[in-house]
């Protein structure tokens, strides 16, 4: 810890971190269960990852190497501000390389590169309750979780099919954890859902405004909900990446001019750059190459 600063290591005081760690441990012991915790005011607005920041602060050690991604990118506002926040308050090393990071805080994506044991993935969660939009009463949703009454979750998917002909929910897609709790995976695209299950890294979910923490220990069974005749499908735009040519990564659509021009590029910037450095190239790479 830097002796000059008035902050405790990683901003939060030790008692607060202890409280959050207890919630994390309980969450790991009961995968998918939402553990209430006394969320603190953080020096950033709700919706900017206050839950994730508190979880990261509680698990961080001075030896950690920290990475932050926002929609897959290391260089967007949210990612830059949180990375700088921990550089200043914890003095930890930071990186943009997925494989080198020990703690990765993410907003709405799972890195393309498979994570390994020893890594921790921290999600920022806006609304942790998957049943919320159908059942507004907290007392009732808690009862539904405790009694495993999850029929309502399928009503939502039923409505999707009846209105759109297929399950149109494309992010925030509900999952069932170890055959017990239905969990909101935070607004990751459903393309990332299959990566949630059987992952080697620890996955922690923090919702600051809603004051909930939940977790998936390594190698947990996670199943996306679906119907027998409308099975779950991890969808993505049907294009290769225009920069690195990857066929199997999640893509962002980028508008390039006002005449309908557009390109699809990997949303995971580290994955894309690593591939380009290794010599892979896409159809539009030449234009931007230095």
């Amino acid at each position: 810890m830097n002796e000059q600063t008035a902050y405790n290591f990683a901003y939060l005081d030790e008692q607060t971190k202890r409280m959050i760690r207890r919630a994390i441990l309980k969450g790991l012991a009961i995968p998918g269960y939402q553990v209430p915790f006394a969320s603190r005011e953080m020096p950033m607005p709700y919706g900017w990852g206050t839950g994730g920041v508190q979880v990261s602060a509680a698990v961080m050690t001075p030896d950690d190497r920290f990475k932050v991604i926002d929609q897959g990118a290391d260089d967007t506002t949210n990612a830059v501000s949180i990375r700088t926040f921990f550089e200043r308050t914890a003095g930890v090393a930071t990186t943009t390389k997925t494989s080198e990071a020990t703690v990765i805080q993410t907003r709405h994506r799972i890195p393309e590169e498979p994570l390994s044991e020893g890594q921790i993935l921290v999600y920022q969660v806006p609304i942790p309750e998957p049943l919320r939009f159908l059942e507004p009463r907290e007392s009732e949703t808690r009862k539904m979780h405790s009694l495993e009454e999850y029929g309502l979750m399928h009503v939502k998917l039923y409505e999707d099919i009846s209105h759109h002909g297929h399950i149109a929910t494309s992010y925030d897609y509900p999952v069932k954890v170890e055959g017990r709790y239905v969990m909101d995976p935070s607004p990751i695209p459903k393309f990332d859902n299959p990566k949630l299950g059987d992952m080697a890294a620890i996955q922690l979910f923090g919702a600051g405004r809603e004051q909930r923490i939940y977790a998936l220990p390594p190698y947990t069974q996670v199943v996306s909900l679906d119907f027998e005749d409308h099975p779950f499908e991890a969808s993505k735009p049907d294009h290769p990446c225009a920069m690195c040519g990857a066929e199997n990564s999640y893509l962002d659509e980028v508008i390039t001019d006002d005449a309908g021009g557009r390109m699809f590029v990997c949303s995971d910037t580290d994955f894309c750059e690593t591939r380009q450095a290794a010599g892979h190239t896409g159809t539009m790479n030449g234009k931007d190459a230095a």
């Binding site: 159908l134 009694l147 009454e149 029929g151 309502l152 399928h154 009503v155 039923y158 409505e159 099919i161 009846s162 209105h163 679906d226 119907f227 027998e228 005749d229 409308h230």
Partner: protein, 256 residues
Amino acid sequence: MTALLSVQGITKFYGHHIGCKDVGFDLYPGEVMGIVGESGSGKSTLLNCMAGHLTPDAGEVVFDTRADGPRDTVTMSEPERRMLSRTDWAFVHQHARDGLRMGVSAGGNVGERLMAIGERHYGDIRAKATDWLGRVEIDAARVEDRPTTFSGGMQQRLQIARNLVTGPRLVFMDEPTGGLDVSVQARLLDLLRGLVRDMGLSAIIVTHDLAVVRLLADRLMVMKDGHVVEAGLTDQVLDDPQHAYSQLLVSSVLQV
């Protein structure tokens, strides 16, 4: 023959005020029981105690479950009771809005109970929902529409379809025709009578409308101030009321 529902000594106090006191009766399979009385006589309290929405202060509600035979639903665990209330029981609210999900399509409303008991085939659920809409005389083309676009009578019929889709054996109805105009009431009663007879349902109907019980109920209980003042066969009670309050109730009906 075992009673489907055997109610004994149901008592519910609201502080010092009596909700209902020492009510007991047996209901046999296929039987329809009417509970009548003025506002505040405790009939809705009694219904809610029996259906598990309120916990009675004393008494037992023994239901003949499919799996384990007669069980007291007051002392059974909450998961079991909630399971009963979405399989073998149904509850029709006076206001359809209390019993429906207004933001979910008609098909989703009917399908909810099916999905709650584990149906996971969209095509089957939708086919059953469409079938049930037909049985309660709602056009199958409206299966995607939300109940907010339905008339009051249609909402009530949708609520009935939603409740009956899992083939319950006992239906609780709280003023099912309240707030509907008379011609819609007549159609709804006709529909209910048909469904009760066809499915061999047992039902408990709470109402203040004597015409409803005359048409639907085999037996009748008259309540006043939380007590049952008279009980018997519907025609017997209505044609030859013995208790002073029953006589008042019967004579209060306007003859057009």
